[in-house]
Each structure stands twice: as structure tokens, then as C-alpha cells.
């Protein structure tokens, strides 16, 4: 820090995510709950309107809805699971995709500007649901022992390597997947929010608190960079949504596949 700076700058940290309840005394009603509830309302409202007529020649709204629906249905579900069985999982994957997408993008929308998934509970529950689903359908398809073999004993591996392979495959396919799935999404949202906070609050500190013209100029540059970071974050928000849902579809696809 430069000498002569009157007050200490405290960068945003984990405590920045500890928001007070919106209504005093109702501890569960926090900003992420409100935002995600709004996202559910928006998703249902949008798709209700888009799919209401299910016309052969779609309206603009229906076309937009079909565009989003088709993306999840074909580019994610069908490509990962295969056209024979993907339709069973399209509802969950669609719900997951649009829920994560809206809540992520909400972090860029002015006045909301808070990523729901930077609270890890949301990421946990989404990852655990995906985990339960792909393991359940795998066990239902291959049987418990068959599924265990399917996930831990890759075809073509010599028998003497099995003592090594089984624990590795078990950990990577059964244990680590929900953790990596949730942490990846959470960490991206968490870090993105902190990064933006650093740029915006840091710029604010430099412009208003230091009382130094040169530092104020640096602060303005910091804000501009924060704007660019916000653009980057929007990209990350969309990409992370896609990765989460694609991986879920991939896990389902590999759980019900016949062979490795």
C-alpha cells in the first residue's frame, strides 16, 4: 500500500457471501433463495408461454423456447446418452440447465448481481441429485454387482492390474464425481464474484477514499477492467452451466452404456 493512504482497504472475502436475511427474523429467506425462486418462476413462465400452443409453425416465443429446449435435448442429452434413451432424462437435464443458467447469469444482471451457486449448498444439491440419478439408472440397468463391475473394471485391462484399477475407478467414478461437479461450479461462481468485488470495491476505494488524483485515475482504470471482467464472468457463467449439465448427461450415458 502507498504511504499516506488514510484507511485500510479490506478486500472482499468469504464473509462477503454471508448476506443477512431479507426479512429480519426469517433466517432462511436469503438473497440466493429469492433469486432462485424468481428463476424458477421465470423459467416456468417462459416455457409455459413458449410451449402453450405447440404449433407446427412456431411463433417467435415458441421458436425461442424450442431453441433452448433443442439445445439441451439434442446437443447435450442425445449426444451424451444416445438417441435410444435420452428422452427419459431430458426433463431433469432441462430443469437443471435452465436453473443453473439463470442463477449464474443473475450474477451479471444489475440489482441482483449475486451468483446463487456461490453458496455451495445449491451446488451440492444439484451434484448429489445428478449423482443419485446416474447411479440409480446404472444399477437399475446392470444390477448392483453388474453396475459396480461396469464402473470399476474397464474392459481390456489385465487381471493383475485389477487391484489397482478397481479402487482408482471407484474413487474417480463414484466418489469424486459429485464433489468435482459441485466444487467446479461453486468455485467458479465464488471466485468470479470475489474477483468482480475486488475490482469494483478496489476501484471505489482508489477513487473516493485515497484522495489522490493519480490513484483515482488508477481506480477508474480498475473499474474499466472490472467491466471487462464482468464480460468474462458472463462467459464463465454460461460455460459452467454447460459443463455441469454435459457432465451429468455424460455420467448418465456412461452408467447405462453397454460397454466402456
Amino acid at each position: 500500500m502507498i504511504a499516506g493512504v488514510p484507511t485500510e482497504f479490506t478486500p472482499p472475502g468469504p464473509e462477503s457471501f454471508d448476506l443477512p436475511p431479507i426479512i429480519d427474523g426469517v433466517s432462511w429467506f436469503t438473497k440466493p433463495v429469492l433469486v432462485s425462486a424468481l428463476s424458477v418462476v421465470v423459467i416456468i413462465w417462459f416455457f409455459w408461454g413458449a410451449s402453450r400452443k405447440s404449433a407446427i409453425v412456431p411463433s417467435k416465443l415458441q421458436f425461442a423456447g424450442e431453441l433452448g429446449y433443442n439445445f439441451v435435448r439434442n446437443s447435450i442429452a442425445r449426444d451424451a446418452i444416445g438417441s435410444a434413451e435420452h428422452m427419459k432424462y431430458v426433463p431433469y437435464l432441462c430443469g437443471l440447465f435452465f436453473f443453473i443458467l439463470l442463477n449464474n447469469v443473475a450474477a451479471t444482471i444489475p440489482l441482483i448481481q449475486f451468483p446463487t451457486f456461490s453458496h455451495i449448498g445449491w451446488a451440492y444439491v444439484a451434484a448429489i441429485m445428478s449423482w443419485v440419478i446416474y447411479n440409480t439408472v446404472g444399477i437399475r440397468k446392470h444390477g448392483a454387482w453388474g453396475y459396480f463391475k461396469h464402473q470399476t473394471m474397464p474392459a481390456g485391462v489385465p487381471v493383475w492390474l485389477m487391484p489397482l484399477m478397481i479402487p482408482i475407478e471407484f474413487i474417480s467414478n463414484i466418489v469424486v464425481r459429485p464433489i468435482s461437479l459441485s466444487l467446479r461450479l461453486f468455485a467458479n461462481m465464488f471466485a468470479g464474484h470475489i474477483l468482480l468485488g475486488v475490482f469494483v470495491l478496489g476501484g471505489e476505494y482508489l477513487v473516493f477514499e485515497t484522495g489522490n488524483i493519480a490513484l483515482a485515475g488508477v481506480g477508474i482504470v480498475t473499474w474499466l477492467m472490472g467491466l471487462a471482467i464482468a464480460g468474462l464472468e458472463l462467459f464463465v457463467q454460461v460455460i459452467q452451466t454447460y459443463i455441469f449439465v454435459v457432465l451429468t448427461a455424460q455420467y448418465i450415458g456412461s452408467a447405462i452404456s453397454e460397454e466402456h
Binding site: 454471508d18 409455459w48 429446449y69 437443471l96 455451495i120 445449491w122 444439484a126
Partner: protein, 189 residues
Amino acid sequence: MLTMVLPLATEGEQPNPLLPHTAEIIFGFVFLVLLAIAFAKFFVPRFEKAYADRTAAIEGGMDAAKQAQAEAKAALDKYNAQLAEARQEAAKIREDAREQGAQIIAEMREQANAESERIVTHARTQIDAERAQAVASLRAEVGTMATTLAGRIVGESLEDEARQRRTVERFLADLEASESARQAVGTDG
């Protein structure tokens, strides 16, 4: 990693970002299930219905086009068959006409031949009859004239009718014979 980080939550004043809020887990579950049900119950069936209708409409259009094509082909075949039939018929009519024409010409020719033959025959008969008549009348006249002439020249009356007739007959026979001989020589020559 998780086990390494988790105990930190109890140490510092800073909240541990890896510890979930129970309420958020419950809400997350409820919201995701709600959305999955909404998609499963309403949105997916409706979109799929639109797709199915669209596919049906396109396939229906293609079927209709195929049918129209088949109909057009059938009509073309029919017209071609009719055209061939008509052509065949025309050829047959022409052939018939030609035959008929030839027949008519032949018939006409035959008729004309018969007619000409008839005319010729008739004329010949008439000529023969006229000639015979002429010969008969000449015979009578020439006899009288010759007798008269001979009576005048000779100056004597040939009273004997029988001798007279015999003389005339002999003279005419001679005359006829010489005539025929001359004619025969004329035709031969």
C-alpha cells in the same frame, strides 16, 4: 481436500464457504424437482408434440406430392396409350381406305371394260344387221336394175322368169365369191 478444509470452519471467524446452509439444500432440491416435473409434465410433451406434428405435416406433404406424381404418371400413361391406340386406328383406317380405293378402281375398271365390250358388241351386231339388210336390199335392187339394164342393152325381153332368176343368182354368187376372195386377200395381206 474436503476433510482438510472442513475443520477450518470451527477455527476462524470467517465463514467456511464449503459448508452449506440447510435451507438452501432444501430449496435447491425442491426447485430442481419442481422444474424437472414441470418439464416432464408440460414442456417436453408439448414441444415433442409440436415436433411430431411438424414431422407428420412434412411427411404428409411428401406423401401428397408422391400421390400427385403417381396420378400424373397414370394420366400420362393413359394418354400415351390412347394416343397409340388412335394412331393405330388411323393407320388402320388409312389402310382400309387404300384397299377400298383400290377395290373401287378395280371395280370401275371392270365395269368400264364390260360397258365398252357391250357397246362394241352391240355396235358390231347392229353393223352386221345393217349390212345384211343392205345386202338384201341391194340384192333385190341390183337384180332389177341389172335385168332392166341387160334387157335394155340386149334389147330383148327376158320373159322366162326362172331363167332370168337363175342368171341373176349365178351372177351375184360370182360377185360375192370374188368379193370374199378379195376381202380374204385384203385381210391376209
